[in-house]
Amino acid sequence: MNSIQELFQKKDKNLLSIYFTCGYPKLEDTTKVILALEKSRVDFIEVGLPYSDPLADGPTIQESSQKALENGINLDIVFEQLSAIKETNKTPLVLMGYLNQLLKYGEDKFCQKVVDCGIDTVIIPDLPMVEFERHYQQLFEKHGITNVFLITPHTSEDRIKKIDSYSKAFIYVVASASITGVKGDISNQQVEYFERIKAMNLESKLIIGFGISDKETFTTACNYANGAIIGSAFIKNLGINGVESTDDFIKPIIS
């Protein structure tokens, strides 16, 4: 069974997931961040693969990616880092990267490495559904990997239903028409959208992300979904206060 699905069997409310960028703020911080998040009892972790041209990301994640690349991070190092903590870390990991990284690394080789690191779930924001159907569905299935799809306020109902049928881990509900890192309160319009999705009674679990930054937005999001993802806000904190401050960041959110 998919590791995230397994997680949902134990807990299906108020799940907190944290996104972080590998190799940030320092090259060797990848594993430190994961272990710190595990210690703070985050439910699952999104491991961001730094990319030179992250189209779906706002300035915070862009800058962290840039910094990580300057630190010398690359896919081989990431895979090394992740397999080093494969036995110690028990928190499920989800890998998030852009399609060109997978393409250039070699699709099969990439999938094999992912699996070798004990990971079975990926998010590729620029992998559209048609291309998934055309090719990647089969590739991922062969390796036992699950792809997470994003839905947005403008995704049609038909499309959501199709995405639901393809989703084995969860559906990533993008909170608003935005890139990552746009902060603020959750508006009435967003609440309407969350309610609309909730009312569809989808098979898949729902996780809300993009623009979730603190206890308040996290709590609101959890009213409409099984959990939520915090990314940019965590990275900002990491940049300023370092890995040691992880628990101070997480605790107020889940208390």
Binding site: Y51, S52, D53, L55, A56, G58, Q62, Q66, L69, N74, L75, D76, Y98, L99, N100, Q101, L102, L103, K104, Y105, P125, D126, L127, P128, M129, V130, E131, F149, L150, I151, T152, H154, T155, S156, R159, V174, A177, S178, I179, V182
Partner: protein, 597 residues
Amino acid sequence: MIKIKVCGMRNADNISELLKVTPDYIGFIFYDKSKRFVTDFPQVDVPSSIKKVGVFVNETIDEVIRKVSEYKLEAVQLHGDESVDYCNELNSKMTIEIIKTFSVDENFDFRITQNYESHCNLFLFDTKGKEYGGNGLKYDWSILKKYEGETPFLLSGGINENDVEVIKGFQHSKFAGVDLNSGFEDAPSQKNIEKLKEFKERLMQSKFQVDKDGYYGQFGGAFIPELLYPNVKELEDNYIQIIESEEFQKEYKSLLKDYVGRPTPLYLAKRLSEKYGAHIYLKREDLNHTGAHKVNNTVGQILIAQKLGKTKIIAETGAGQHGVATATVCALMGLECTVFMGEKDIVRQAPNVARMKMLGAKVVPATSGSKTLKDATNEAIRYWIQHPETYYLIGSVVGPHPYPDMVARLQAVISEEMKWQLKEKTGKENPDTIIACVGGGSNAAGAFYHYMEDEEVALIAVEAAGLGVDSGESAATSQLGEVGIIHGSKTILMQDEYGQIVEPYSISAGLDYPGVGPLHAFLYESKRAQFMNATDKEALAAAYELTKMEGIIPALESAHALAVLPKIDFKKDQVVVVNLSGRGDKDLETYIKHLEE
């Protein structure tokens, strides 16, 4: 154009449906041992553009003539062992198109066909089988290489919808078309019209045109985040219909004429021609309003945006030419305009920044990455994600499908004009060579567009080599790139071993891009176009040369196209068109700096 003959028809309703597919021939089988034997001739009005063919096997000539006149057939297909004399006699008795079938296998002696040549219009090479035709089997078409006759021929035997690519790739100077029958049937004689329709569409589609999934070969597609899906889908669903509508064509043509100043001249550069020993024509896109080819595209897209009900326009720009062209049409239409431009380009193309501002556009600096065109495009896409109500007016044949195709169609006016202008000046529509610079590839796409099918026209795409292809400071994508995804399109891309996009370099802001459009990736991979490159230095020298010899100051981008002239061995009297994509006003500062050097 590959001809299509659909054979073995019998049912009137089925034939009526088939007419919509507009085959070239419809075949009726008058052979009583066939499963598709016609007893009651179907009463259908077949337009004269589609020929009715009677298929006979060793029938008496009198009976053939009787059927031809009774059913008003335009052709007969002789599918048995009819002799040369038989054909001769038939010909002498009536005027009719004769198609002679030969059943071939690896032992077939093609010399047999020689004596038939003067009596037949078309041959049909079918599979040798137990029956006279209708075996539904294929033979190895490569044996047709042995056919050296003059009479054109149709391929036949078991062709089905899976054969499109093989047929398109089939090379023989006398290959005229295909004969379709059992491979498209739901039951004997009953054709599956949908299958035929799709087959024809795929067969007729040029390999240089985007396919229904948005690909040129392996390149193209729409690799976009879900957030952009509705926008791109809306455009994809509507752009062809809009562009092909009479209303659009009228508005577009009239703006190109009266506002942009088209047609642009095709100018024979005499002194340049003398120097390089060829007839060198310059397609003067520099004389367009706003000073470059870019406006052809923005005029078209602004009309499309309006028809889609959009009021806010965003664009990216490198040299600032596309930014200016976008700001211009936005001013013309009274639409809000935001242009993203790399911080580095804002400095090196300052005059264009000033123009955009005067035109009322907001210029937003892109401060990430190399701070050039790639990053301006990233920022435009991010803004688009956050403002899905805006229309993204892309400036080149890049981005997710349908942008590359849409922009190519809008720039195609360049080669459309070249055709009649060359005809006027040289007596021939086709030049020997067309040269254009490639950043994203839009001016080249426009200059190549109507010539891509004509393999006799050499297409030369010139990329910017910066300080030298191998210097580490270059934008020669085809030489340095590999298959990858940039800005939503699978293409050739400069990247490192981990797929991180490499920052390109060129003195010319309009060529400073790490990818090329998917059409160009395909032209490169298929070797239809030759890719050359020119360094900063060579481009500067070419710019000075054109200025001094012809009194034309070219844009730095266009100077790259001119810069390959000394590298090509022209034959005397060769007709060469260089697409002069833009003028050099915006580059004066750079030129002056190098003048002093």
